[in-house]
């Protein structure tokens, strides 16, 4: 029995330690956001976060994950209350078929956690591991940059507020 911490709660998992995290998320925990694409770490559809880093859940066995913090797309927000990053994907209509999107969002989430105001150039390099067969990469990049600029204006507003106070 292995205990996995997923989206903030501990789950006892009765599965072979060899089992890829993706199968446990989908079959045991019924968290179906992460997708099976290639099973070989080539496409990124299965991307989730472990300790804040984007990883391929299709080739990460659960035996390596005891005591680590796993976050899936279900941990970011809901259809009713999407996270700012998810809202940016909606606003930019970044999905076509949508199969890659959960992975894209989770890769972008890890990137923005580390670098909230990332540039387009750095973002293109950082998003390289995730593929979209429909070719909506430009909208996906726009969505992530929209979320990043939201971060920027949020922090700018935070900085500017005391000045406004003072000038009054």
């Amino acid at each position: 029995m292995i205990t996995l911490n997923v989206n903030g709660s501990d789950h006892p998992i009765d599965a072979d330690p060899n089992t890829p995290l993706l199968y446990v998320l989908r079959n045991d925990l019924e968290l179906n956001g992460a997708k099976f694409g290639c099973g070989l770490g080539q496409c990124g559809a299965c991307t989730v976060n472990v300790d804040g880093k984007a990883i391929f859940s299709c080739l990460t066995p659960i035996s390596l994950l005891e005591g680590r913090k796993i976050v899936t797309i279900e941990g970011l927000g809901t259809a009713e209350r999407p996270s700012p990053l998810q809202q940016a994907f909606i606003d930019e209509q970044a999905a076509q078929c949508g199969y890659c999107i959960a992975g894209m969002v989770m890769r972008a989430h890890a990137i923005l956690q580390a670098t909230p105001d990332i540039t387009r150039e750095r973002l293109e390099l950082a998003m390289r591991p995730n593929l979209c067969r429909c070719g909506t990469h430009t909208r996906i990049l726009k969505a992530v940059l929209r979320a990043a600029s939201g971060n920027r204006s949020a922090s700018a507003a935070g900085d500017a507020a005391p000045e406004k106070e003072a000038s009054r």
Partner: protein, 452 residues
């Protein structure tokens, strides 16, 4: 003996500083800026493009994600970071004001247009061997590029190395100036290969060990050395590969970046072979002839035995990790391999056309240093930006240092007959902090949630 060596180092260091002071006193003159460049014909420019590919120029002179040749890439040296310069013909931040004479002086003597010493991270100790015609073609090509404004980053070097005149002292000892002299005892093809490899190709800059002042130790030519976070394997006949290299297999490797009995060109060598693809086949064959001349004759029966052993060690049908026998120290690594690696690395695994090399023949598994195998596991394999190619996912964010060490121990034990590497935990920690390019960006990139 040790006291003698230390005394020698001190004497050499003092001489270098004195020579540096001398050089400071007798500075090289600036070469007048030019406002126009000669018009070169298309054939010369095209030849220059090939020579720039051979010289690996764009690999150092391009920042990650930056415009080719516009500089800005941090080049790690044992003394600190040297930032590659902008060699597009931009007048203010590039080499737009350089005459061909100024360019030739930089290539031959390591002196820039203004008369300042360049650091030998720029391998002018090799480029000095190029012919005037080749230097002209290279100049013609660089001047044909679109000028890009990109100011130089300040180098991160400690004093006294930050004082450029000390390079004059270095040159006194280590710059063997002058064009390549053919060896009349060797074939024309060998000499062509030697000219390419020792001159613009500067193979020794990575594959030859360096002395305490960062100069190549010619007594150990091609004996293998650390390079940009990786280990450039020996080319002097001490190759650890179980199958001997031949001129044919070296040519295949240089041309395609892959050779089925040795593996894929990775790390800095991936860019080298990518560049060499632009050279005419005759030059690739000449390079291969020259490099193969350092290898002992291939022993066919030994090579066949090595292939048979690799086939035997090949990972068969994927096992459930829980069903693996507990064979002591290897068991933790074997379980990680079964669960995380075997999907692709079992016999017949992977995607069509992306089948990994048989690990039993893969050079990094057989090397004396674990560096390259750890690099591959931590940082994966990805083709150059905007190029097709094989991709292996990075495991830096999945595996702890201990798990990587266990995995490496298992791979070494199962797929080679070489003794286990010692002190793996420290090696993994080192490679992780060096990062995929050896510039110490490992930590920085890890903190940005990316490692490709």
């Amino acid at each position: 003996m040790r006291g003698f060596r230390i005394a020698l180092y001190i004497v050499v260091a003092v001489v270098i500083v004195i020579a540096g002071a001398g050089a400071w006193a007798t500075r090289f003159p600036a070469i007048a800026p030019v406002t126009k460049h000669p018009v070169f014909d298309a054939a010369t420019i095209a030849r220059g493009a090939q020579l720039a590919a051979l010289g690996y120029c764009s690999s150092c002179h391009t920042a990650e994600g930056g415009t080719p040749y516009a500089g800005g890439r941090p080049v790690p040296t044992p003394f600190g970071i040297v930032y590659a310069t902008n060699i597009t013909p931009d007048r203010d931040t590039g080499i737009g004001k350089w005459s061909e004479a100024a360019f030739r002086r930089a290539m031959r003597d390591g002196i820039d247009r203004r008369g300042q010493h360049l650091y030998p991270a720029f391998p002018y100790n090799h480029f000095t061997k190029a012919t005037d015609g080749d230097i002209e073609a290279l100049y013609a090509y660089l001047m044909s590029l679109h000028p890009v404004s990109n100011p130089h980053h300040a180098n991160r070097l400690p004093f006294p190395i930050s004082w450029r005149p000390v390079v004059a002292g270095w040159n006194l000892f280590f710059l063997d100036r002058g064009a390549y002299m053919p060896d009349p005892g060797k074939s024309a093809e060998w000499n062509r290969g030697a000219y390419l490899a020792e001159g613009l190709g500067h193979c020794g800059a990575c594959h030859t060990p360096k002395n305490f002042l960062g100069a190549e130790d010619h007594g150990k030519r091609f004996a293998g050395a650390k390079a940009e976070g990786w280990y450039a394997p020996p080319l002097n006949g001490a190759s650890p590969s179980p199958v001997r290299w031949t001129a044919d297999t070296i040519a295949t490797y240089l041309r395609h970046g892959f050779e089925s009995d040795h593996g894929k060109a990775l790390g800095p060598m991936q860019e080298v072979t990518g560049n060499l693809a632009r050279l005419p086949q005759a030059d690739i064959d000449a390079l291969a002839t020259y490099i193969a001349s350092f290898e002992p004759a291939a022993d066919k029966s030994k090579s066949e035995a090595a292939v048979a052993a690799a086939d035997k060690a090949a990972y068969g049908p994927v096992h459930l990790a829980s069903t693996l026998p507990d064979n002591g120290g290897n068991s933790a690594g074997a379980k990680i391999f079964a669960a995380a690696c075997a999907t692709c690395h079992h016999a017949g695994g992977g995607l069509p056309d992306m089948r990994p090399v048989r690990l039993g023949l893969s050079t990094p598994v057989w090397m004396n240093q674990p560096t390259n195998l750890i690099q591959i596991i931590l940082h994966g394999i990805s083709p150059p930006v905007e190029s097709p190619g094989v991709s292996m996912p990075p495991f830096a964010d999945v595996l702890t240092d201990k798990q990587v060490a266990d995995l490496v121990t298992y791979i070494r034990g199962h797929f080679s007959d070489r003794p286990a590497w010692s002190d793996l935990a420290e090696s993994v920690r080192q490679v992780r902090s060096d990062g995929p390019h050896g510039a110490g960006e490992g930590e920085q990139m890890a903190s940005q949630g990316q490692n490709q």
